[in-house]
């Protein structure tokens, strides 16, 4: 064989060997758990609620477990899956991680395979009747193939608007209860140089919330039925809801350029800097009624305004059906423990404490960020001080009660990733005028059929 051929053959052989070696590197190895139930170092990944709230939870946890060091690792909501997947595949640097029900970021159906079964740990903490003590959704939506893959921390609900009550009082605007009042309110605010209603319609998940609220206004429960295949997405009520959705853009309720705006940070910042009077946000927004959280949100919006009175209101009856007050919710986030963690026992202690203990769930309740999973934990209203208690306490208490009694109406829990994308595409297309409502509904029906 010629010398050149020998070199070429050797090169190919070496490259194949290199490829094989690298393939070998990709296979995960079992790691040894070096922690105990009371000692260890836990790296906790998540996207919500963010600093400083997570650090407060950790400080409370450390009062009971001083030898478990928990480090909060936060990514943005959009970057979470992209950051977590390689970290979990690598098997290092992730001990506890947040997951969600449904098709949003951190979906349990995708990440559940990397988590351990927490059933025994919960039984140990709450007893055999643990299911009676926790929010039903915190068990059912986190159970994959019979294994409890994560523990729900709390539930969030949507379906309502938040309004700046101070601005409504200042300009003497009636709180809208129907389409005509909503348009009138927006017009008054516009005349005064303020956005009436603001939505970051460029961030699709929040469009689904608004559309769900409209669909429930048209015909309660039909949105959920469509997600479950019990009615077709091409049903007349869904087409009607898409027409009303389009109307929000045509009638001047949605601010100009809404499709180019993100809900976070842009729409949120407009509301927090008092440049907009209404926004479509859910129960997670309740924490902004706390003075410290609101100050922080206002500063993040690059505003120097003082905290203001924000209250939740029902989604206006734009369909004219009288079907109002619908709310829909899912577990906001749950804590899973990585199957390849070298601090598995300590991470389990933390996940169980956060999701099931009275002390862990009480701080969750008092932060007003989510509705806690443990049924006995409710906000301690003597301890929780709002910006304007006189005007906020009653509406917010009623709002949270209404949310908890919303029944079987999941937010994203019943929507798979393909339907989620299809909903975002159709809603953006209908709003932008590139898809008609009936074609959009047909497109949703086709995606549902394909994804089944």
């Amino acid at each position: 064989m010629k010398k050149s051929k020998v070199v070429v053959v050797s090169l190919v052989a070496l490259m194949l060997a290199m490829t094989s070696a690298l393939t070998g590197c990709g296979s995960s190895k079992k790691t040894e758990d070096t922690s105990s139930e009371t000692k260890g170092e836990v790296m906790w990944w998540g996207w919500t609620p963010g600093s400083p709230t997570n650090e407060k939870y950790i400080a409370e946890f450390n009062k009971e477990y001083p030898d478990i060091k928990v480090t909060w690792k936060q990514t943005s909501i959009d970057a979470y899956d992209a950051a977590l997947k390689p970290a979990l595949a690598n098997g290092k640097g992730v001990d506890a991680f947040e997951v969600s029900a449904g098709s949003g970021n951190g979906g349990i159906q995708v990440f559940g395979g990397q988590a351990i079964d927490l059933t025994d740990a919960v039984k140990k903490a709450l007893g055999e009747d643990y299911k009676d003590k926790l929010n039903e959704a915190s068990i059912t939506t986190m159970t994959v193939n019979g294994q409890l893959k994560a523990l729900g921390v709390g539930t969030v609900y949507s379906g309502n608007l938040w309004i700046n009550k101070d601005l409504f009082d200042k300009y003497n605007v009636k709180i809208p209860t129907n389409l005509a009042e909503w348009k009138a309110a927006c017009e008054i605010f516009e005349k005064n140089g303020i956005y009436g209603f603001v939505q970051g319609a460029g961030q699709g998940a929040f469009n689904i919330d608004t559309f769900h609220a409209i669909a429930d206004n048209v015909s309660p429960g039909n949105f959920t039925k469509a997600t479950r295949g019990e009615i077709q997405w091409s049903d007349d009520s869904i087409v009607k809801a898409l027409e009303l959705w389009k109307g929000l853009f045509d009638d001047g309720i949605m601010q100009k350029g809404a499709l180019g705006l993100q809900q976070y940070p842009e729409a949120n910042n407009l509301f927090m800097s008092q440049k907009a009077a209404m926004v479509m946000m859910g129960s997670w927004y309740t924490s902004n009624a706390l003075p410290d959280a609101m100050k922080s949100a206002i500063e993040s919006a690059a505003s120097k305004e003082e905290p203001f009175t924000m209250i939740p209101i029902q989604f206006p009856d734009i369909a004219g059906t009288g079907n109002t007050g619908s709310m829909f919710g899912d577990l906001d986030y749950s804590t899973a423990v990585s199957a390849t963690s070298s601090n598995m026992k300590a991470a389990t202690t933390f996940a169980v404490w956060l999701g099931t203990s009275q002390s862990g769930q009480q701080i969750i309740a008092d932060s007003l960020n989510v509705v806690p999973s443990l049924k006995t934990a409710t906000p301690d209203w003597d301890n929780v001080k709002l910006v304007n208690p006189e005007q906020q306490n009653e509406p917010i208490k009623k709002y949270l009660e209404n949310a908890m009694n919303s029944g079987d109406n999941p937010r994203f829990g019943g929507i798979n990733a393909d339907m989620n994308q299809a909903l975002m595409d159709v809603l953006a297309g209908v709003a932008g005028g590139t898809i008609t409502p009936s074609n959009g509904a047909a497109q949703l029906a086709k995606t549902q059929a394909d994804s089944e």
Binding site: V7, L11, M18, T19, V110, G113, L259, E266, G432
Partner: protein, 293 residues
């Protein structure tokens, strides 16, 4: 013949010296390509232990996926527009700065600075600039022009905004390469053209431009590959919206692979992107060689 043998022999003797680095680099690159191709034959979410082999189904899916074709169309339009505008501007700036211009160094810096700025830094600025709450809107309102800056919200104008941002950012690169190419042109050739009666514009078209041909070809090749790989500017400014109006292959691969967990489908589009990039590079190379003959 003897010379050929000698040069081949010299090359073979040099091979062992580069072998370790060559194996490492080639191993990594080819491993990644082979692995991506393998992934493209799977239905897999990237984490699940169960991987289902689906053969070429992911490629079939791409062929009938309107968003994939929309991304291709956007890529072609994006390449053609940005390539011609940024190279035209880069060429003109380079020619101007080769003449006697005051503060030439300052001008060079000003033209080149956008190239070194990270898109992640500039994206929020452009989002604000082209937002209805932004600086441009304030300017229009002050001038009472009655224009609403909602261009990022419109499928018709959002792609144009991305092209403006790209031209702003990469004209400096074209400029610097043309500037270097023009420095290599023999001054006697230009003087001879003047003696023959050619004006400055004529000399620019008939002497300077042909002598910069290899630079134009390189920029075209970089432009095609860059357009196919475009991710950061559309993702950070429009996230591919509204309704996929600014979708590119890179952003679509990310959405499919990460957000929707269709890793196999994302890998299939990646393989197609690779093939398109290779085809584009070959076409431009051939066109260049054809022109030389």
């Amino acid at each position: 013949m003897k010379n050929n043998y000698t040069s081949r022999s010299t090359a073979m003797n040099g091979l062992p010296w580069i072998l370790p680095a060559f194996i490492f680099v080639a191993g990594l690159i080819y491993y990644s390509i082979f692995y991506t191709f393998k992934l493209s034959t799977l239905d897999w979410n990237g984490l699940d232990p169960i991987q289902t082999t689906v053969g070429m189904n992911n490629y079939d899916k791409a062929i009938s996926d309107w968003i994939f074709w929309k991304a291709i169309k956007n890529t072609v339009v994006f390449f053609l527009v940005t390539f011609f505008i940024q190279n035209f501007l880069g060429f003109i700036f380079a020619a101007i700065l080769h003449s006697d211009v005051k503060l030439a160094t300052l001008h060079k810096c000003l033209i080149f600075i956008p190239t070194i700025l990270a898109p992640a830094t500039m994206a929020p600025v452009f989002r604000l600039l082209f937002s209805p709450q932004g600086m441009l809107q304030d300017l229009f309102d002050t001038l009472h022009l009655g224009i609403t800056v909602d261009w990022l919200a419109s499928p018709d104008s959002a792609l144009l905004i991305l092209m403006i941002v790209t031209v702003w950012q990469f004209t400096g690169m074209s400029f610097i390469l043309y500037y270097a190419a023009m420095s290599q042109i023999d001054k006697e050739m230009l003087e001879a053209s003047h003696l023959d009666g050619a004006g400055k514009f004529r000399a620019l078209l008939s002497i300077v431009l042909p002598n910069c041909k290899s630079t134009t070809v390189s920029l075209a090749m970089l432009g095609i590959i860059g357009a196919l790989k475009t991710f950061d500017v559309p993702y950070l400014i429009t996230t591919g919206g509204p309704n996929h109006a600014t979708e590119f292959l890179g952003t679509y691969i990310f959405k499919q692979g990460i957000r929707q967990s269709h890793l196999g489908y994302a890998a299939a589009i990646s393989v197609m992107l690779l093939l398109l990039a290779i085809c584009g590079a070959i076409l431009i190379n051939r066109a260049n060689k054809g022109g030389e003959k």
